[in-house]
Symmetry: C2
């Protein structure tokens, strides 16, 4: 595998997908084509969110649908070829039955370039399984065909998008909150992302839950922490307090229900409600603590935060910056350069041009190329690094309305 | 309805049931029989916990099974008669489809005394519905027959058991936490009991969740709140941290899973772990705040706490007492006189001897007598008082091992 950069074939596509709990996106561009002199993707498609059923996530189906639409959208795709494709998916290691299925779907749906499609490859990852057999009969399924592929946890694509592919630490804040500190080679340290019952501190679900607790405290006449403003807002959204448990505990998407109250907390804080302001400041402080904990030895002191919750603004981000400056004054905090979709596209482009520079590390990032079997875990001794991402930590906005 | 006390017929039974998420119990005694000169119940049976399914709680089936076993246990029951029966049930207003079903099951399964069985009654509560038709063919189902009945939320029977039927406020602490302040006539003020996502502050599920968060904080290397002792204990109980989300978010009984860690938090605290001690002290403080908020105008300054979580001891109860003394120095805090089962038995005995003294207040307490239709809500103007108890606030021990 070459460590030397190469340019992609003229006109070949790189394809990135972001598959999450609040929606899915595909972006594709042709870096070598004259018309792609601007950075904007040539194609952007949006799809449905993944659904979680008894068998886990249906991310494979979401990806297959997006790819079929992409093929329909680009009639010249077979002629153009695909230089590489990458997916960032929520709940990768626990809710997606097998990342190899995602590799197989990508490879089955996307044509290789003349260059990367030369070799037919053996190995389980490149042999379509029954569940990954495309339903679209126009697809030409050839084991071993297809471009190089990368399948990453959404925490990884959020990282790549926010830091533009540089090593460092990124905290992604949506319905959940997860930080990943990595040198993109050997060190992959995850912090939080444990879901709304065990963590996700400072996330949309956390902010919403804190706001609802302040509302019931006011309802109950408790001595501490009540907010009549939040009670009024929550009553408007969810009805009278006694109805709330029935509208929450019966739902499978409880974290999303909690997070749906976050815009009300933000609005109350902007209107001056003290409790709401404390919740937002607490969220910022938690997120800084999470990010600081991801900056372990071996991770450069470069960091960013990404995700829609940050749009709440200075009431949250001010506390975030202040706390991070106390915990890690040496760290350079930069604005997020891009989204998780940008990160997926970056990953695909990197795979196309510098395949040897992309290092897989299961379950965070696995690679499938026509010239090599899929990567295995590189450091099985550290269970943290092999941590699944079982609580869908959606780094996207939680503001649902 | 007479306000004058009367004694129960010699040899007639009073029957109390406590139907909860961790198990169910029936106790029966004959206050007028010579052999019942001691306070101990003559019969005590234990049954299974209620199960929560798509249609709600199966409390009706649990009660029917316990009553059938009671009938089998007391061959003389039809001759003896039942002076009154009372049930305290978890999740009464939201998870039990219809409290009237519980009344109907009680009345169908239990024979009246010669005195209270005279009148046949009409009305929906005394007409068995299809779902309340006993499956045991030995039961003699006669609409309108049966003893006076009371169906109460478990918060009410916990209150009656803890204060021996006196007005005041009681906080019941198990997997959940709920306080009820009442004069047992007009004022019924509920505080908390909103379930593990919205409240239940200081409960077993709260303590367990705080302990698990301290464990993941240590695992992640967070700057604040981590406890390696709790991490070690939680790893022993639940396996490595990355497996926890999969062992928690897939479960329907998440509150019980969280609460199952409470004994480990207590053990770590007793071994001197600072974080664990802070969690227990925080629980005590929360419970005092909850109890104080239940002591609204019209409720005498008499209070108690009840439930297995209190067995953790002074690390929790010391903080509880200290905080209550600050919030309400005028309140007399007494030890709980009895359990929710004692409360159900007390309610049945009261209904037998002083029926006019028992005032129903839906959904907390509804009455069914052979001589009157079931009570309706007495104060529909206050939505708090009509609050359902949708989050099963089980006032029983959470120590599951």
């Amino acid at each position: 595998m070459s460590l030397v950069s190469r340019s992609t074939a003229d006109g070949a596509w790189v394809v990135g997908l972001d598959v999450g709990g609040s929606g899915s996106r595909l972006a594709a561009r042709r870096p070598g084509a004259p018309s792609s002199s601007v950075a904007a993707p040539d194609v952007t498609l949006t799809g449905r969110p993944v659904a979680i059923g008894p068998a886990g996530s249906d991310a494979v189906d979401v990806v297959r649908d997006l790819l079929a639409r992409f093929r329909a959208h680009v009639p010249s795709l077979d002629a153009d070829g695909v230089a590489a494709a990458a997916v960032g998916a929520t709940g990768l290691a626990s809710l997606v039955r097998d990342p190899a299925e995602l590799h197989a779907v990508l490879r089955a749906a996307l044509p290789p370039t003349a260059e990367n499609g030369v070799g037919a490859v053996t190995g389980p990852m490149t042999t379509p399984t029954s569940s990954s057999t495309p339903r679209d009969p126009v697809l030409d399924v050839r084991p071993g065909s297809g471009p190089p592929t990368a399948v990453a946890a959404d925490a990884v694509t959020a990282h790549l998008g926010a830091l533009g592919g540089r090593p460092g630490a990124v905290v992604a804040v949506g319905t959940g909150a997860i930080a990943l500190g990595t040198d993109l080679r050997d060190v992959w340290h995850r912090v939080d992302g444990w879901g709304h019952l065990l963590g996700d501190l400072g996330s949309g679900s956390w902010i919403g839950a804190q706001g609802l607790r302040a509302a019931v405290a006011a309802h109950d006449g408790r001595d501490n922490g009540g907010s009549t403003a939040l009670l009024a807002a929550a009553t408007e959204r969810f009805g009278p307090v006694p109805a709330w448990p029935g509208r929450l505990y019966t739902r499978a998407d409880r974290a999303q229900v909690l997070a749906s109250f976050t815009p009300d907390v933000a609005a109350a804080a902007h209107d001056g409600d003290t409790v709401a302001r404390q919740v937002l400041a607490g969220a910022g402080t938690h997120l800084a603590t999470t990010l600081a904990a991801a900056l372990v030895d071996g991770v450069p002191p470069l960091a960013a935060a990404t995700g829609g919750v940050l749009a709440i603004g200075p009431l949250l981000t001010g506390a975030f910056r202040a706390r991070l400056a106390v915990l890690r004054p040496d760290v350079e905090l930069v604005d997020a350069a891009g989204t998780p979709l940008d990160g997926a596209l970056h990953l695909a482009a990197r795979l196309a041009t510098e395949p040897g520079a992309v290092v897989g590390h299961a379950p965070w990032l696995t690679l499938g190329t026509p010239h090599a079997p899929p990567t295995d875990p590189t450091d099985p001794s550290d269970p943290t690094d092999r941590a699944p991402d079982p609580a869908p930590a959606d780094p996207h906005p939680t503001e649902e309305d």
